[in-house]
Subunit: 345 residues, 2 copies
DNA sequence: TATTAACACTACAACGTTTTCGTGAACTTC
DNA sequence: GAAGTTCACGAAAACGTTGTAGTGTTAATA
């Protein structure tokens, strides 16, 4: 077992001082060319690589960014992680991730653990529980301690920090309009309760699209579900509501859902009713994930560009860490949504 | 902005030495009760939390484990990450992740970056390119340097380290048997080329099941595809092969695929042929992910228990790091697969 | 020949901890 | 009253690195 070698050991081996080795490795002109080359050759030979922990301690900063997300087995969040990792890698940073599991308490603990240690800044999306509780002390404290925080997707105006958001309202507007453009007039919306900011915004987009097209609002065509992790409990309830809605409103000719899971449930019920997608009912949903892509028929979706969000967030955070942003005030970047047309519309 | 306070600052504030503060915080009996309490009160007041970097440097080890996976936007790997993160959290470790994107070069670079720094050990799954190249020098070197490595899922006998694997062969055997048990006799297999170890093992399981049931092998019923990331290119090709196979072998009454994507492609083609699932053709696939769960009909699958794999791997690695394993020889843990029965069979 | 400059290198402090080894002062013990 | 013991605390080294401030030797200058 070859343990890692330190500068001190190299120095001893070469019969020079530690400083000489350090300077040689940095190609300092203070050291003669011969010595430099000799040291570098030895370093290569022994496979010397600097100890980043010592460096971090010395420089009082680490090249590590912390990502706190509610869930990783989730297409959108995984995409964001992918984007973050990509730029982190390019810019020489490490990514440490931690999952809140949609729990407020875990989010707080994770944040404290990270802040205790090796993290230079955070990229995070709030857990549902945090949004519900509206308790953001842990984030305020972290910012107070001088760590930059970039919030994405699930953000909140009370927190004064950089943000990367998708234009949820516009995405929903596009999706609804897309249905209207196909001649659909009776569009059912499946969304979440309003405390989930993205659900609320998407609902707004839907309403706006109807308004712009002068389609009167029918509240019977809006289904709001409690948004928990327990899809096994929620979905049957949702499907029932949907059945009722379809029975009471046989004129429904389009459905827009705020996520893929709801769309999958809708597909199932539509099939039950022996209706055809897209002829009888067109279907669009938010999130361009695997469910939509591999469904039969493949679903038209609103692509949120998760990877792009991750990229923007990481660049924003690293720019802050490296003081590359003159602007002291928080910046909010908006990533546009885009309709992905497939066979369901 | 309240910067984090250090022991030194606390000591100055209290008019005692650094040692006294450190000992007080650790409740050393060497320090008088009064002093201890005073120090602790101050520490709480100033929200003192030890600097983990300094600790790591002192102790020459970090409480961080590195996870290197080919892809995070992937149900199985995300599940594993979730499992790893869960036990890491419980046992006081951080998780830093890095994505190889199925690239050999990125895998090597990532590993070196990690090894340079804050990582105590690795949990990883090899990239497809690495498997193809059969070049494992980076892993051998890491192990040589004394860092424990736990390989999962995509492992290789040439690397002598702890492993956590799913019983791919047994899973495939179960799946094929499951079809046979439904009275199906002409079972099509969609798999990958043999250099992907899991593909090869699953093919073996399929063959074994046929053999055990005394069903003669028909090579026309095995489709092997190149397994790349470019599903947009692969899938149409695959679907074509599948159409040909179905035309040439109209007796096909069951399909087993080694992943969900292939199953989604199969569903599409089956629908094209106006065949019913499961009456005309039953369908089972590996990977119990969202596609199977939300497909219509929901697919029967082989659950690989990704989270469980992550849990086992993390416990194994941390046990090694903490010398809780007397056994110096590598350990291989096998996580059993399980058939999830749904409506496609 | 004495002063200075350039060169090539070394010593040392610092980053924040922990821990071993002192060290005075008060108190026992015979 | 001398010697030992306990108590409560402090000094300093160590982890690996960097950068500032020396230091000694040789060469150039006046």
């Amino acid at each position: 077992m070859k343990k890692k070698i330190t500068i001190k050991q190299l120095a001893a081996e070469l019969g020079v001082s530690v400083s000489t080795v350090s300077k040689s490795l940095h190609d300092s002109p203070e050291i003669s060319k011969e010595t430099r080359e000799k040291v570098q050759a030895f370093a290569k030979l022994y496979n010397y690589r600097p100890n980043n922990i010592a460096l971090s301690l010395k420089n009082k900063k680490t090249k590590t960014i912390g990502v706190i997300i509610p869930e990783v087995v989730h297409h959108f969040f995984a995409m964001v992680v992918k984007g973050v990792e990509q730029v982190a890698m390019e810019r020489g940073y490490n990514v440490v991730i931690s999952l809140s599991n949609e729990s407020f308490e875990k989010e707080v603990i994770n944040m404290e653990t990270f802040a205790d240690s090796l993290i230079g800044g955070f990229i995070m999306s709030l857990s549902k529980e945090t949004l519900k509780k509206q308790d953001y002390h842990h984030i305020h404290q972290t910012i107070e301690e001088g760590m930059p925080v970039v919030l994405f997707d699930r953000t909140v105006p009370e927190i004064n920090c950089d943000k990367v958001i998708v234009n949820d309202e516009q995405g929903a507007l596009l999706a609804t309009k897309h249905l209207i453009d196909q001649g659909k007039k009776n569009i059912l919306l499946i969304t979440t309760e309003d405390y989930i900011s993205v659900g609320r915004l998407r609902t707004q987009g839907y309403l706006k699209a109807l308004q712009e097209a002068n389609i009167p609002l029918n509240n019977g065509l809006i289904i709001k579900t409690e948004d928990t992790n327990r899809s096994d409990i929620i979905l049957p309830l949702l499907e029932n509501e949907l059945r009722t809605a379809l029975k009471q409103n046989p004129e429904i000719d389009g459905i827009f859902t705020v996520n893929e899971i709801y769309a999958a449930a809708a597909m199932r019920v539509i099939r039950e009713f022996n209706l055809n997608i897209p002829n009888d009912i067109s279907l669009v949903c938010f999130t361009d994930g695997v469910i939509s892509k591999y469904a039969t028929p493949p679903l038209s979706t609103v692509n949120q560009h998760g990877t792009q969000i991750g990229i923007e967030a990481a660049n924003l955070l690293i720019d802050r860490l490296e003081n590359k942003i003159e602007q002291p005030k928080p910046i909010t970047k908006v990533v546009a949504c885009e309709i992905v047309r497939r066979d369901s519309t």
